[in-house]
Symmetry: C2
Subunit: 517 residues, 2 copies
């Protein structure tokens, strides 16, 4: 058995069974090992940003890592932006990056790069396996380091000769290290927070990570019902259960003024797996920290703690375990007609989201209307871009569909953002994934028009505008989708979008709808 | 005047007048400054890999850097693979990367990343300008550091507050540092090489960089005519002048066995801005170094030296200045008919390349036939992928067209490679660039089928094949091109390709031809 086979076998034994891949020559032994070692499903993507973004989407639904297979330093570099996004979402990920044979690097051939240097800024854990046995042992360690949720990014460098060389003896699967336990929040902290909540006049819980799912979310709902505390989610979240029957909560708005306005009068903010709110960007003469004046900020649980257990403990400490949480009523918007805008797009989405849908939200300027309008839609999961690097949505949708077969994925995607990693459409077609991609086709980096004013740069002239507007030439998203094997529909009115979404949500397989407005 | 304006003004004064951009909020002040400061042409691309690859293509034609404008760590990361390729081609490049305001980074908001860590592996020079005055001074320094050809990558980090803050006093344009002089090769080295060449039985000159252009190439031709030395270029070259009337030379083949076979019997190899030949990848039981047995290797000039001056000096030392170099005769292939293959594609290209065309070669398995068949085409420049990271071709073509208006660019591009940075087509349409992209549509990472066997991984099974073949679903390149505003033609026979190329080369503006085989 060679190093490649031992590594793949170890990954499979560690419960990693999906390999998102864009391999090259230095990974051919690993490709070949996936043939021979049972249990690993390979899924090809035509660009590494799709590979890493899909691994993130899979982890968000499954709570465990997929592995990626990437080609040397430059191949990894192409995936870095979406690894960054995954890190900010605390998604576990195991990157396997092939490298030149150990003895070959000295020749500094064309693909040689500072692979470790490229990996380090986006890896919590980084090792290279220099022998076949090391490869297998480090494979197991990588999975343990990546963990579950909240998870981390583990990167394992696999030199070609370590992959192709035979183990010195018979293969003994390495011991699988226990996954790191999440730090539990101290009882004293829970008691402190409970005491402060009881004393506060207008408190809020800012929920993040696992507090937005399952029992933890219900516990937060009980706390709110029992104490009157307000519930908010952060602006960008890894995954939120929402819609009819779920505990309602409101996302903090992207615009700092609106966030501060929403929180005005709050005297206590408790961070529950969330971070203290800050402006996304700095702006001249505006605050970076978004805490209302006079508001005390307490941390119940950091994002890397066992957040779910902390919420349940707080619920008990407040004697709220029998309180009945508020539940969102089903409330589907009426169909408005006429030319599309972000509100009308959101209405159609809200009307047609099937039970248990997964929404990927990279609609940027379309996000806030979409969030508001879908609050009373059928129960669904809401997944967001957490690291701000656009081009996350279509890959996330790909990975979420791979991780949650049988559930419909609806991807709300800005046109500018979609162009970063549009290759994801091809993988959706290849794997027959149930993804409906709604392209917000406003022919603009629309957010930047707004940001240009906010940074005090004044009225844009022709050259500045040429860097914000992407409408010359117009992208045709139906052509692009068809070119990658995905059927597309172009709509310009609310009624046409409504009909197209009804159809696309009813049919299996990928669809794209270009919503022009 | 604010820091952004001072920086743009300084770049323009330093003879940098093209800004390839994909900006975000943190760069809005720079976008706005380009409006107000005359002399900088902004060109938008929809993905950063296009930005950096186009900067490389521009530098290859102009011998001076363009600047890029990139959005924080993740935006830079998206451009890293093509910066890597530019580094291996010794192209000068000035990257301007916006960052959060200096006081805002502490909040570690979503887009915050280890920007310096991401930049370092692909930057010869890296600085951050923390004040408006520093930004301008470092802008001048960055251009000096990037240099000409051979050049380097200079990365300047521009925090938003340094860009938006006013200079403390009146703006005095910073002194422009002199560009670093290229190291001259010592006379003694030239004399040594001349002596060795005279004594050798079967010598060859391996030419790289500036030795492949202009007077240096003619001097190499004189040396060959006078001494009988063979002339070779490396396998991958930044830019070669070739075709009818030019000094003929042969590229070393990609396959190590073929390269060794071609050089068999050579007793002296002189490196002239080239590196000692090595296998692109390591393979079990095959050599990494590709030097024939018994061959002595001498270095006349390293790639970073003044290579052109060294060749001219060697020509003089050998008293070859009056020798008449061999000149390639015009030899256009006949039109063969029938189903396409890489040879027939190459024939059509060779027949229709107009005078002074620029060929971008990322045809991968199609490259060698293309190089051989175009040897006697009309005079042209040949530009290659030097860093091995695919997705370089369409961006290189974009940048070459921006850098050499009036010359036709023909981009020979593998379908798998084209998918990495297909967004370049949109910029070609937007800027009406004279680029004919020929997509080698074999629906395969064809090189990998060959490499899989070479690394000894045996016959691929279904799962391995699924990671090499990209034909399910089939990409439709005409749809993809049309979606980005570029007219496309699909051809399956040599005669159809011949007609399509004749048309596309005669018309201005971008065209795409999908050559299916």
């Amino acid at each position: 058995m060679n190093g490649a086979e031992a590594l793949i076998d170890t990954l499979v034994r560690s419960d990693v069974d999906l390999c998102l891949a864009n391999p090259g020559t230095s990974e051919m032994q690993l490709v070949s090992a996936i043939d021979r070692v049972p249990g690993m499903r390979p899924v090809l993507a035509l660009f590494e940003g799709v590979v890493t973004g899909a691994a993130d989407g899979y982890a968000r639904m499954r709570g465990k890592p997929a592995c990626t297979l990437l080609h040397l330093g430059p191949g990894l570099a192409n995936g870095v932006a979406n690894i960054h996004n995954a890190q900010k979402a605390f998604s576990p990920m195991v990157n396997v990056v092939g490298d030149h044979a150990t003895y070959h690097r000295q020749y500094d051939t064309p693909l040689n790069a500072d692979l470790e240097g490229i990996a380090r800024p986006v890896s919590h854990w980084l090792e290279a396996g220099r022998t076949p046995a090391e490869l297998a042992a480090l494979g197991a360690e990588a999975v343990a380091q990546a963990g579950g949720v909240p998870g981390r990014v583990a990167t394992l460098i696999a030199p070609a000769d370590a992959a192709w060389s035979e183990l010195p003896g018979a293969y003994a699967p390495p011991a699988l290290p226990a996954r790191t336990q999440l730090p539990r929040v101290a009882d004293a902290t829970v008691a402190d927070v409970a005491r402060a909540l009881r004393a506060a006049k207008s408190p809020l819980l800012l929920l993040g990570g696992q507090a937005l799912l399952d029992d933890a979310l219900v516990a937060a709902g009980r706390i709110a019902a029992h104490t009157g505390v307000k519930l908010h989610a952060e602006t960008f979240n890894r995954r939120v259960q929402r819609g009819a029957g779920r505990v309602p909560l409101v996302f903090l708005p992207y615009r700092g003024e609106l966030a501060l306005q929403m929180m005005a009068g709050t005297d206590l903010m408790v961070l529950v797996g969330a971070r203290s709110p800050c402006a996304f960007f700095a702006y001249p003469n505006r605050p970076s920290e978004l805490v209302p004046p006079g508001c005390r900020v307490m941390t119940l649980a950091r994002p890397s703690d066992d957040v779910a257990a902390a919420v349940v403990a707080l619920c008990a400490a407040l004697e709220a375990t029998r309180a009945e949480p508020a539940r969102q009523a089903l409330a589907l918007p009426e169909l408005e007609t006429g030319r599309l805008d972000t509100r009308r797009i959101a209405q159609a989405v809200a009307r047609h989201l099937p039970d248990d849908a997964i929404v990927i939200d990279e609609a940027i300027t379309g996000s806030m209307p979409a969030q508001q309008t879908t609050a009373g839609a059928r129960p669904h999961d809401w997944i967001q871009l957490c690291g701000g690097s656009i081009g996350n949505g279509l890959p996330l949708a790909t990975g979420a569909a791979l991780g949650a077969p049988g559930r419909k994925v609806v991807c709300l995607e800005g046109d500018g953002s979609a162009m970063y990693t549009a290759q994801a459409l091809w993988t959706m077609a290849r794997e027959s994934l149930d993804v409906v991609s709604v392209i917000y086709a406003n022919r603009n980096y629309a957010i930047l028009n707004y940001e240009l004013e906010r940074v005090g740069a004044g009225e844009p002239g022709a050259r500045a505008r040429s860097m914000l507007h992407i409408g010359r030439p117009e992208l045709d998203w139906c052509d692009l989708a068809r070119g990658m094997g995905v059927p597309g529909t172009r709509v310009e009115t609310a009624e046409a979008l409504d009909a197209a979404l009804a159809r696309a949500c009813a049919e299996p397989g990928p669809h794209l709808i270009e919503a022009v407005y």
